[in-house]
């Protein structure tokens, strides 16, 4: 997270807030709902 902040030149807190917002919108994204019933291999 600190590296991400460093790369983008913003504060770690911004990274934290923006990534949780981003994940929240991805989680509810209609296009991605097709993945939710499928096994995901990391």
């Amino acid at each position: 997270m600190e590296r991400t902040a460093q790369v983008l030149g913003c504060s770690p807190n911004t990274v934290k807030v923006q990534s949780s917002r981003a994940l929240r919108s991805l989680r509810t994204d209609p296009d991605l709902s097709l993945f939710t019933n499928r096994e995901v291999v990391p």
């Binding site: 990274v15 981003a22 296009d31």
Partner: protein, 147 residues
């Protein structure tokens, strides 16, 4: 290469040959479009070409290039870059073919990423694709910012 252009600096061509495919993949995740991904990568490579000795002296050319990729992407406000693609219609049922499913997956990911803000997209790609927490210590981010 014609006479009008200077020869690439030492090591530059090898670096491009070895790493541009990986960099292009990151650029694609950011831009969601093959053409713009190439545009972004070209811009960043052109900058690195001009400063290649500095880039090499910093110790990790790929780290430099990746950082440049993200910062350029985030700060690039040229008009045509503002043409983000809003949500299109969902892909049609593509049937059982794996290839079709893969392509639908790609498309879904691209469109979902396109709904995020530019900064959010860069953060997601950086944190979860470039440097996922389950991947152990990062290999190419270990260099300090050199600008």
């Amino acid at each position: 290469m014609t006479d009008r252009y200077p020869a690439p600096p030492e090591g530059f061509a090898d670096f491009v040959t070895a790493r541009s495919a990986a960099l292009l993949r990151s650029a694609w995740l950011l831009t969601g479009d093959a053409g713009r991904a190439e545009d972004l990568l070209q811009t960043v490579l052109a900058g690195a070409w001009r400063r290649w000795s500095t880039v090499v002296a910093a110790g990790h050319p790929e780290a430099y290039l990746r950082r440049a990729l993200f910062t350029t992407y985030v700060s690039w406000w040229r008009r045509r870059w503002r043409a983000e693609f809003p949500a299109a219609t969902p892909p049609e049922d593509t049937g059982p073919s794996d290839l079709a499913r893969e392509s639908a997956d790609r498309d879904a990911v691209r469109r979902a990423l396109a709904r995020l803000s530019r900064q959010q997209r860069a953060i997601v790609v950086l944190r979860y694709v470039e440097d996922p927490p389950w991947n152990g210590p990062p290999r190419c981010w270990a260099v300090r910012r050199t600008r």
